[in-house]
Symmetry: C2
Subunit: 317 residues, 2 copies
């Protein structure tokens, strides 16, 4: 299937005018695309425009692409018209499998065959969503993180009938459009980010349930401790830096035994030589030649920016 | 025990010249205190001054207290002299119980009886550390998060012989000195923040071990998804906002069933009416009357600041 170059995409159609669909619309408008939003009911337009106006105040501060304007938004309740000229379709209709399947059955006929259709679903599998779609090979999951106009993550995976080339094209497109695509090789319930988030949430619930911490203490701990570091470096790079000159390897040698400690209710896997090597090699790769002192300086500068932001707008508790 | 007012503290003594002791020294210097650092070997002074100089570049950007200067640092290898005039002692010697116990045995005699001695320990219990201390009632755990000059969290707890008044005084002092104290009512292994961090780390290790995600994907997911939100709002407030106008209650009603999903390897506790009520009440309290739209605006402004920081210094991957 010959597709447009990702740099040639001009028209993006967003299906659904709720917080996710509207958030996507704001993002694509800010990146300079012509955006069409399909909504079920014309009465949703006012709320959609409020979502976009709210987002726009943020997007202006971060910087708009040349030519980006809210005037390039079109709203319609005509699905065929909404997608007829689309270069890319982002679907964010309600999270109900029967609804999604019915929509994809129509989209499969209405959307030009070379155009990728991406679903914002957070919990359904593309194999299920695409089941009744006549052209399922160009349908992919592309799950954003809320709010989609501020958080870059897009977790991506195909369904059984998805063409891997469509998935790869969509990842390239998102990257070009200012997002951080994470392409998964298989459908994992909760993808990656939600799993990490849920791990924290479940441990927190256990602690609250057992009187070990109050909800307020949980939030104080996160915001003033691990949270700010995770805004710049993930768990692996955080430990790679935490290991000092010795990096991840030193960190695993020193803190490896702590995996046996009852520091959470989740038992850790065995730190096998293979797992150890994967962590050490990947961390070195992600460091891209930066020394411990380079990385520390970057981390500290990130935390300085957060401290300045706290002075400006405060924390939530 | 009559103690100084926390606002009258002038002289802080830091024991240990490593990254934690040095980080504390930088923090207290930046807040305008006279700081004495005790080190085992005078040869450590050069490395200590490098730690403080590095920290200072950050601290100047965030803003120094009036009169704060690195000239108010004194280094000594004489423990008695280091603590004789201290108004507060922050101990960060090596994490070896026998070493800490020997130090506290001496400190118990050398440090004026009305002065609180706080340990930076991340894993030992104060009940053990204070076992041989002749004046244990004023010894507390005060565990910082690295780097101590940028992350505000101080997790605090007493030992069996600790006077609760000493713990309360120390929490007030830290608050006055620009930190975010979290006072725990009992000794929980891993405190709160490390537990949340370990929950993420263990789930990540399982995912890597099982080929569900690479270390790089773990880091991409965190930095571009939940991480930036957690720099301003903890897990509870994040869901309180995620629930829209309905707040935490709506969120629990809609996403409560997801606690049964296999979204992490950690099984969640039962969402009992009591746990549900605790979460809802605490979230409302933390919101302090702010509406959904106030909170959303604050969250978004926080994420804008992080997006600007990313533009300036990048992410780690």
């Amino acid at each position: 299937m010959a597709r447009k170059e990702v740099t040639d995409v001009r028209r993006v159609t967003c299906l659904g005018a709720g917080p996710i669909g509207g958030g996507w619309a704001a993002h694509f408008l800010a990146r300079g695309y012509d955006v069409t939003v399909y909504m079920h009911d014309a009465g949703e337009e006012a709320a959609l425009r409020r979502i976009i106006d709210t987002a726009w105040k943020c997007l202006e501060q971060i910087g708009l692409a040349p030519g980006a304007t809210r005037d390039r938004l079109t709203c319609t309740t005509d699905l065929a018209k909404a997608v007829a000229n689309a270069d890319f379709v982002q679907e964010s209709v309600p999270e109900v499998l029967a609804v999604k399947q019915a929509v994809y059955e129509q989209l499969g006929r209405l959307v030009p065959a070379d155009v990728v259709i991406a679903s914002s679903t957070s919990g359904l599998s593309m194999s299920d969503i695409q089941a009744r779609c006549p052209t399922p090979e160009r349908t992919v999951v592309a799950h954003p993180f809320n709010p989609p106009y501020l958080l870059p993550l897009v977790e991506m995976v195909g369904g059984k009938k998805t063409d891997p080339a469509a998935l790869a094209w969509a990842a390239d497109f998102y990257k070009h459009a200012g997002k951080a695509p994470l392409v998964m090789t298989r459908e994992v319930p909760g993808f990656v980010a939600t799993r990490l988030q849920e791990a924290v949430w479940r441990e927190a619930l256990h602690m609250i349930e057992n009187g070990e911490a109050t909800p307020e203490q949980i939030d104080i701990a996160m915001v003033n401790g691990p949270g700010p570091r995770w805004a710049f470096a993930g768990p692996c790079m955080t430990y790679h830096i935490g290991g000092g000159e010795g990096g991840m390897e030193y960190c695993l040698d020193v803190f490896g035994p702590a995996l046996k400690f009852p520091w959470t209710r989740l038992v850790a896997p065995e730190l096998t030589p293979e797992l150890r090597k994967t962590l050490i090699d990947s961390s070195a790769e992600m460091a891209e030649g930066r020394s411990f002192s380079d990385l520390t300086e970057e981390r500290d500068q990130g935390l300085v920016e957060i401290a300045k932001a706290w002075q400006k707008i405060g924390k939530f508790i």
